[in-house]
């Protein structure tokens, strides 16, 4: 990166300071949730519980990272949750033999893996064309693709659940390495790469400029349209990856995989200080939001809140968390 040894030593510190930006005003809230969780149920602090929490947080986290990149660039993508469900389905569907419900198109699980990411990229590009070149309103256009893709999932599977997934596809979602879920390692890796990319790569900076003031970005000679297309594609690929991880963890692909997940992703991003108006927020902040959200849900489950009331409680707690981040000044951007 640089030939100067001093600069080289400074770099990791920089990454750390990027991870500790103001978005972390959410931190006290996280601590409170942890204390409450530990007080309510002793198993909250157990390895098994954290293992599960971290797994779930990784799946939602990777989806949220994709969404965050889109939000920072000043756009929206609601259809990410459908990509989350459809992409692994397409991969498996190509792979399964005729005895199952599949087409047996691809003999190799590697090809299936490629098909999954390709699906994410193609869907992202499709959304990008709608929003960037045809200038559809991002909210309504990606709402339409959300419904369309969810419908395709349903049609492909006729509402059934795909099971008997090949090990290569379930491995990243269920395996453990170094005592942590592989999906968590993947998420942390992505967090670091994206954080460095957003703060230290020129395209990362351009993204903030495009989201903050697209006209100014244009004057500066930034290819606004190409950048935005890239953003949608990256978000699509990340959503596909997140879907693959969840499919691996539950070792099957229900036709509803990822349903309603986009709301959690939005809530997490906003809790983590990402502006819905574009131009502000960090990947690390969004991941903090994810952690908070998943921990809250975990605490609710452990304290035996009836399953039917989890959603309502989560909604209420998101509002409280927003209120706290408002008084703590973390939501300056919104």
């Amino acid at each position: 990166m640089t030939h100067n040894p001093i600069a080289g030593a400074v770099a990791p510190k920089r990454v750390l300071s990027d991870l500790l930006q103001p978005e972390w005003a959410i931190l006290p809230v996280l601590v409170v949730v942890m204390i409450v969780g530990a007080a309510l149920n002793s198993s909250f602090l157990s390895y098994d519980n954290f293992y599960g929490v971290v797994q779930q947080a990784s799946e939602l986290g990777i989806l949220t990272m994709g969404l965050t990149v889109v939000l920072i660039a000043g756009k929206f993508d609601l259809s990410l949750e459908s990509t989350f469900g459809l992409a692994p389905m397409v991969g498996v569907y190509c792979l399964l033999d005729a005895g199952g419900s599949g087409l047996n198109l691809a003999g190799s699980p590697f090809l299936a893996l490629i098909a999954i990411f390709l699906t994410g990229a193609v869907i992202g590009a499709f959304n990008g064309i709608l929003v960037v070149y045809l200038k559809f309103n991002a909210f309504i256009a990606t709402l339409a693709t959300l419904i369309l893709l969810r419908g395709i999932s349903l049609g492909l599977t006729r509402g059934e659940t795909l099971s008997d997934l090949p090990p290569l596809l379930t491995y990243p979602g269920e395996a453990t390495a170094l005592g942590a879920p592989v999906s968590f390692l993947v998420a942390v890796g992505l967090l670091i790469i994206l954080t460095v990319f957003m703060s230290r790569h020129r395209i990362g900076r351009m993204l903030y400029a495009v989201g903050g003031n697209p006209q100014a970005a244009r004057v500066a000679g930034i290819p606004v349209e190409r950048i935005l297309m890239g953003v949608f594609v990256v978000a699509g690929v990340l959503a596909a990856l997140a879907g693959l991880l969840q499919a691996g963890r539950i070792a099957s692909i229900p036709s509803s995989l990822g349903q309603n997940l986009i709301f959690n992703a939005f809530a997490a991003a906003v809790l983590g200080g990402v502006s819905l108006n574009g131009g502000r927020g960090t990947i690390a902040g969004a991941c903090g939001g994810v952690l908070l959200l998943v921990l809250i849900q975990d605490v609710l489950v452990l304290s035996q809140v009836p399953a039917y009331w989890i959603n309502a409680t989560t909604g209420g707690i998101i509002l409280v968390a927003l209120f706290i981040s408002k008084i703590s000044g973390a939501d300056k951007a919104n």
């Binding site: 990166m1 640089t2 020129r202 003031n213 100014a216 970005a217 004057v219 000679g221």
Partner: protein, 517 residues
């Protein structure tokens, strides 16, 4: 109509609709009105003329009750004006048709006429509303169907609807703020005819215009403002254009060739100085094509008011206009089409846009980020940005441009106008352009920053930067080696060493110079 308020009945006999004496209005350190006096008599069309910053807008905001004067007297219809908060009283006394449209485009003409003051009943009767609107339009002789969507109206028609709305609100005093700036000739003729008709029927107009040729066609009386003061009152039919222009410009500047001193300071370019930009650009709205040949280190001004086409063509040069014809040769190479800002910046054409908040800076980003935005690629080493080089560049710029801030990490949104403009200039220059297009580079900037900004540009010019300066401010245009003046899509003159008077009158649509094109 609602009952007319007491004060206007009581004063119906008053000769003067407006009588302002010695008005002073300050904004912070600047004095916008500095002892201004004006009298507008009932039933006349009164022309208000002055250059940018002369105090016209402030006067309009006082007349429409948006601001109160700090000192001086202001009589409206012969009595003290209503309280600023009494919007209804103001609406009934004064109406203003602004340059920007204030109609709702997706509603019909009738709805726009009665927006916010539907009469009585809870449910709107469309038939009654349309009937009432039709009657109102007809009574003012405005041939527009009340059911037409405002979106479908031409600029001139929309203006007539705005006037009709003002009249239907009860006001018989209408301020027209540069009504002809965006109109084509036939629409201007129509507007003038209609205004004159309405005046015959007792409506008083305050007519603000940059086009002096319109003044005798519309106005009875004229007031010229300069530096927040009224410097000339007179009969519009009798005053000569020369008299008006010299009042606008002021005695101190008359006759001095603006660019002369600069020419003395700038030695002639060496004969072999290369031509960096050769352009033939025709944009739809303009009759004439922009014909430009610019050598390294040369500064050419494009002068003209809004609607003159000068901005549009300069934007086309910078790649911000998708539809244009002609050819741009930059550094000896014909530029590719589509010519977009990205390619333009990459090929050495930089732009300093006119609205630094809206189109120039990214408010959510730091000084450092903004100043290096067009040149991020140059700061990228292999994969990542070289932070030290970037920081050094930003710090150098901070010192060089004299940007006052506590750190280059500070958000540009927190800076003063002058400092923001310096950041923007640093940003435009960061890509090492060979041609820099400046839009109003010193607008809304304090005097010290003005000097710094022009100094920086001058320093780069000496190193071979060619500059296109788009402005309607003679002070800025004095920086140019030669100036093209544009009026309504036509180039009226191109010349060096124009006097302020000559420049101003050319932009207002008159050539004082004997050597007309």
């Amino acid at each position: 109509m609602a009952a007319r308020p007491e004060y206007s009945n009581a004063s119906a006999a008053s000769e003067q609709i407006v009588k302002i004496d010695g008005a002073v209005k300050r904004f912070g350190g600047t004095t916008a009105l500095n002892g201004l006096s004006i009298e507008i008599r009932r039933g006349e069309s009164h022309g208000l003329i002055g250059r940018n910053g002369a105090g016209k807008s402030t006067l309009v905001s006082v007349l429409t009750g948006l601001r109160a004067i700090d000192s001086g007297t202001f009589l409206l219809n012969g009595s003290a004006p209503p309280a600023l908060s009494d919007r209804n009283a103001w609406r009934e006394a004064v109406a203003c048709v602004y340059q920007h449209r204030t109609l709702v485009p997706d509603l019909s003409v009738a709805e726009n006429l009665y927006l916010g003051r539907y009469q009585g009943k809870r449910v709107i009767s469309w038939r009654a509303l349309n009937r009432e609107a039709a009657a109102a339009l007809e009574s003012w002789n405005i041939p527009i169907l009340p059911t037409t969507q405002v979106r479908d109206l031409g600029v001139g028609e929309a203006q007539m609807v705005e006037i009709a709305r003002a009249l239907s609100q009860g006001s018989r005093f209408v301020i027209l703020d540069e009504p002809t700036a965006q109109l084509i000739t036939s629409e201007i003729d129509q507007l003038i005819t209609r205004v004159n008709e309405l005046r015959e029927r007792g409506v008083t107009f305050l007519f603000i215009s940059h086009h002096l040729d319109e003044v005798p066609r519309v106005c009875d009386a004229v007031t010229v403002l300069r530096n927040g003061r009224d410097v000339l009152h007179g009969d519009a039919q009798k005053l000569s254009t020369g008299q008006i222009v010299s009042a606008m410009v002021g005695d101190e500047a008359t006759g001095i060739a603006l660019t002369a001193s600069e020419h003395v300071a700038r030695p002639a370019l060496p004969p072999k100085t290369p031509v960096v930009l050769k352009a033939q650009v025709k944009v739809g709205a303009c009759q004439d094509a922009l014909d430009l040949s610019l050598r390294a280190g040369e500064v050419v001004g494009l002068a003209g008011h809004s609607g003159s086409g000068s901005r549009h063509m300069a934007l086309a040069l910078a790649g911000h206009v998708s539809r244009w014809s002609g050819e741009i040769v930059l550094n000896g190479k014909t530029v590719p089409k589509p010519w977009n800002p990205g390619t333009a910046v990459a090929r050495g054409m930089a732009l300093l846009p006119e609205d630094r908040i809206k189109t120039g800076l990214v408010g959510s980003m730091s000084i450092e980020d903004n100043i290096t935005l067009p040149s991020l690629k140059a700061f990228s080493k292999r994969v990542l940005i070289d932070r030290r080089a970037r920081k050094k560049f930003a710090e150098d710029n901070r010192a060089d441009l004299g940007i006052v801030c506590h750190s280059i990490k500070q958000g540009v949104g927190e800076l003063s106008g002058g400092n923001q403009q310096k950041v923007l200039l640093g940003s435009a220059l960061s890509s090492n352009p060979s041609v820099l297009i400046l839009f109003h580079p010193t607008a809304g900037v304090d005097i010290a920053s003005k000097a710094t900004i022009l100094e920086i540009v001058e320093r780069h010019r000496r190193e071979g930067l060619a500059v296109v300066l788009v402005s309607d401010e003679p002070e800025e245009l004095a920086f140019c080696d030669r100036v093209q003046v544009w009026v309504r899509g036509r180039k009226v003159i191109e010349k060096s060493g124009m006097s302020e008077e000559e420049l101003v009158s050319a932009m207002e649509g008159f050539h004082l110079s004997p050597e007309l094109p």
